[in-house]
Subunit: 223 residues, 2 copies
């Protein structure tokens, strides 16, 4: 009575692919905290325990999700020179992490790097080495750039606004009241000034990134 090779409620059969993809969709739309095996199974029109045929446990699912996210980040394109390559890769990483804010948090404590993660690191390291960075200097540059990108994404994810307009809207009603001028004079002045000037957080990332890239220049020729 059931269709030939298709279960009722599931238009296509399960696969690790489908499980992981749907899990990412759920984490993106709802919160990652609301991603449970039951909810995920339900969304896939499957029984809970069916998931465990494709995924050993929830931790492995999270690992797989993270590796997919890593795969979305553009690899550095060497021809343009290391600086442009690193810049473009950092910008791409930030975009991806902004799209999947739960991934930033999840990277921690997850010690086993997936294949996409390693492939990415290899490409970055190769780009820097070919540009003349020594192993030590390439390591320094790598730490510095990654720290900035992850830290920025982390802070950005905890911001209650995304665009300049949202900042302008929320700032007056929510931000300023939290900063009484007698207790926090400098923060108060700073927030007021930025609000008045129509501060746009969109350019904040590239500003710091370019500053770092400039500082890294001296490392390219260092031993």
């Amino acid at each position: 009575m059931a269709a030939k090779s298709v279960r009722a409620g599931a238009e296509v059969s399960l696969s690790k692919q489908r499980v992981v993809t749907e899990a990412i969709r759920l984490a993106d739309t709802e919160d990652v905290a609301r991603l449970s095996m039951r909810r995920l199974a339900n969304e896939l029109g499957a029984g809970v325990m069916s998931l465990y045929y494709y995924v050993a446990n929830k931790d492995e699912l999270l690992d797989a999700m993270i590796d997919v996210v890593f795969d979305e980040i553009e690899l550095p394109a060497d021809p343009a020179g290391w600086k442009a390559a690193m810049r473009q890769r950092a910008v791409s990483a930030r975009q991806v992490l902004a799209r999947h804010p739960w991934a930033i948090t999840l990277m921690e404590s997850r010690t086993a790097p997936g294949p996409a993660n390693l492939r990415h690191r290899e490409a970055v390291f190769a780009c820097l080495r070919k540009a003349g960075f020594s192993v030590e200097m390439a390591t320094h540059a790598n730490w510095l750039l990654d720290s900035y990108v992850y830290g920025y994404a982390l802070q950005e994810a905890s911001l209650p606004f995304d665009t300049a307009e949202e900042f302008a809207d929320i700032g007056e009603d929510v931000f300023m009241p939290q900063l009484p001028p007698d207790q926090y004079p400098y923060l108060h002045e700073g927030a007021a000034t930025l609000l008045a000037a129509g501060y746009d957080p969109a350019d904040e990332f590239t500003f710091g990134l370019d500053l770092i890239l400039g500082a890294l220049e001296v490392l390219a020729a260092a031993p």
Copy 2:
């Protein structure tokens, strides 16, 4: 049969202080994932629901924990100049976050900053403004420094080793086998070189930090 004003098993009475402190101890020693209200109550020799007299819910407990962590970070000491002040406070922040790795991840999604958090930001902003940074430039510097510190702490927390010796021990047995030279030639070469050179990750943080501080110098006088 019970002591006068003291419950059996609890040598002192409960307080928000004690609840939060013990929660931090638990998160530090075990993992933050293993911090549950039941376990926490047990550790305090109290009933589970007693905790809810001092804390509205677990989220509020986590907020309080984070603010205590913030309070552990040294405030910048202006007299030494903005550069030294920012350097010392970044070093302190990294130490604190290394001691409480769970806090890094927790800062995200927790939108309401606690009093210690605000006090800290005020001190940093004040230091930069007094040093001649404009509001815009101080904001840039703040974002850049915080991103680096948090990102570095995040990466550091996911490392399986802490010291140079641990790196040397683990590197040979665990790291290298994950990096076959045919698939990841540059990573393989890099890891091998660092291992042979006795690479010490302890200095990595200050290296990048000083590079950033140097780059920030030009911002001090910019509009």
